[in-house]
């Protein structure tokens, strides 16, 4: 069955929006890349890349050029077709998940009403989790088809970690969904007019954030690419453009989680203290909030050491999951009691 769509436009606008979303994602990822490297440098008392372009701003460009001009090779033990497809799955699911983040409500652009989001489905969070689930295949197939021990170990770790943390991540959102009584992300944002959900759903926010670190395979949960043990994790055998796609997908996933956090907990395009800027400001408000969440991601990466594997699992299943369940339960009881 097709999901009910809250609002949709002419087909040509949809195609245009798809292109714009891809373009925006492609622009944002290098910015996040350079920001992360610069900020990590500052967190560690050094400059970070500062040789290419002004303040090293062109470093990602140089990196991407280097990667794309590299020779395409694959190990003789790899499974050719899957080896080529796996990075594509990763990048595709990341971009698809990005499509759901609302950058603003329906707005009048040259007399045509356009929703500032890829698609507004009535199953918003489910859509994200569906693509998150498909993203496993990018990692799993990539690791498996490399035909290398390290890649396979990294992929297994990644898959186990993603599966365990997706449960708590989903449950953390349940509280918000119960409060907002809708699954559409735009409606969740408009339901936050009075108060952002980060205040009443602070436990859900923290759980979602921590699970988000795990979902994006970032420190302190970056066991998939624990360099010391696994060389590079599932992408050990990948090089050149394929490695670039994995890298791209990884950082786009950070942006997606940041976008979801912004939308669901930080009031999306709404400004605090009753400020109502004109409609064209909305996307920048969302981007600003996403930048703050991304900063948090980088900050945590600079601070926390990597967890041990059993700590990771016991934390996910014994701490986060019960907490998330409790959060959903308490929210449900409170909502029923209030209404």
């Amino acid at each position: 069955m097709l999901a009910v769509v809250g609002y949709y436009e002419e087909w040509w606008i949809q195609i245009l929006k798809a292109i714009i979303i891809f373009a925006v994602a492609l622009q944002l990822v290098p910015i996040v890349l350079i920001t992360e490297r610069k900020l990590l440098g500052r967190f560690q008392g050094r400059y970070g890349p500062n040789r290419v372009g002004p303040y090293g701003a062109l470093q990602p460009l140089a990196d991407i050029l280097k990667l794309l001009t590299k020779e395409q090779f694959r190990p003789s033990t790899s499974v050719g077709m899957l080896f080529a497809i796996a990075p594509l799955i990763s990048i595709l699911t990341a971009v698809a998940a990005f499509a759901i983040i609302p950058f603003g409500n329906v707005q009048d652009i040259f007399g045509t009403p356009v929703g500032l989001y890829g698609i507004d489905v009535s199953v918003g969070p489910l859509y994200v989790f569906a693509f998150g689930a498909i993203a496993f295949y990018g990692i799993m197939l990539g690791g498996w088809s490399s035909g290398s021990k390290y890649s396979f170990l990294g992929a297994m770790r990644g898959a186990a970690q993603l599966i365990s943390y997706e449960v708590s991540q989903g449950l953390a959102l349940v509280g918000v969904i119960i409060t907002a009584q809708t699954l559409s992300l735009t409606e969740i944002v408009t339901a936050q007019k009075g108060m952002w959900y980060v205040v009443p759903q602070v436990v859900g926010f923290l759980i979602f954030l921590v699970a988000g670190f795990a979902e994006t395979n970032r420190a302190p949960f970056d066991l998939t690419e624990a360099d010391a043990e696994l060389v590079g994790g599932y992408n050990t055998e990948f090089g050149g453009g394929r490695f670039a796609s994995y890298y791209f997908a990884e950082y786009l996933n950070v942006l997606v989680v940041a976008g979801i956090v912004t939308t669901v907990f930080l009031g999306g395009w709404l400004m605090p203290f009753g400020i109502h800027p004109p409609g064209w400001v909305d996307p920048f408000v969302v981007l600003g909030k996403m930048a703050i969440v991304t900063f948090l991601f980088i900050w945590v990466r600079a601070t926390l050491p990597r967890l041990r594997y059993d700590q990771l699992m016991s934390f996910g299943w014994k701490v986060l999951l019960p907490l998330a369940t409790l959060n959903a339960l308490v929210t449900a009881i409170v909502v029923v009691a209030v209404h």
Partner: protein, 216 residues
């Protein structure tokens, strides 16, 4: 039986050594000929239950995480400590032992060339533990006077790819003719380029290295 042909190893159970005749009965400990080991005080009670004070330890973990985040943020406020090396150099201490320098007597008269301090005695070469200095001395003549002494160094070479910068040459020199300078950027593309001749050592150093100020 196999048992007759092989020599029983040390730890092997007694029953196995006895072969066919012994019964396979009796308590295991008796058969294995080991004394019952009493764990005594070494036993540690293991309890499988939630650790006490879970709420407090959760709070502690939370607090410690926050403290860690504060620490890393403090590093941003502190600013980078990097020295942008090729553009910016670490100043050296006055007694830093860098590339050698050979010295001349100071002379204000430009028509009269100042004499070299080195008299070609080869004491530096004798003191050098790395054996990197080569001195060939020659006699000074009234027409051709190079140094203040009886003889002068016709050839004075230091192989800087062998030098360990110990400074013994400087100590050995009776005339303070050779001293250690402050230059430490000594890489080159060719090993033979690292053999410094007398002219190179006598020339004013390029002063590429900043000197550390008092108290810095």
């Amino acid at each position: 039986m196999d048992d007759q042909h092989r020599t029983p190893s040390e730890g092997e159970p007694a029953a196995a050594q006895a072969g066919e005749g012994t019964t396979r009965e009796g308590p295991l400990q008796a058969r294995l000929n080991v004394k019952a080991w009493s764990p005594g005080e070494d036993v540690i009670e293991v309890t499988r239950s939630p650790a006490p004070g879970a709420a407090r330890s959760t709070w502690r973990a939370f607090r410690e995480t926050a403290r860690g985040l504060k620490t890393t943020l403090g590093r941003i406020a502190e600013g980078p400590n990097t020295i942008q090396y090729p553009e910016e150099k670490v100043p050296v201490y006055p007694r830093f032992r860098g590339r050698h320098k050979l010295h001349r007597f100071e002379s204000d008269d430009p028509t009269y060339p100042s004499l070299e301090k080195c008299v070609g005695c080869s004491l530096c070469a004798a003191a050098c533990p790395a054996d990197c200095i080569r001195v060939v001395a020659a006699e000074n003549t009234p027409e051709h006077r190079v140094s203040a002494g009886e003889r002068y160094a016709a050839v004075y070479e230091i192989n800087l790819s062998r030098c360990i910068f110990c400074g013994y040459c400087e100590l050995a020199c009776p005339f303070d003719a050779i001293t250690m300078g402050h230059d430490y950027e000594l890489s080159d593309y060719d090993r033979s380029d690292l053999i410094f001749t007398k002219e190179m050592l006598l020339a004013e150093p390029l002063e590429r290295t900043p000197l550390r100020n008092e108290g810095e």
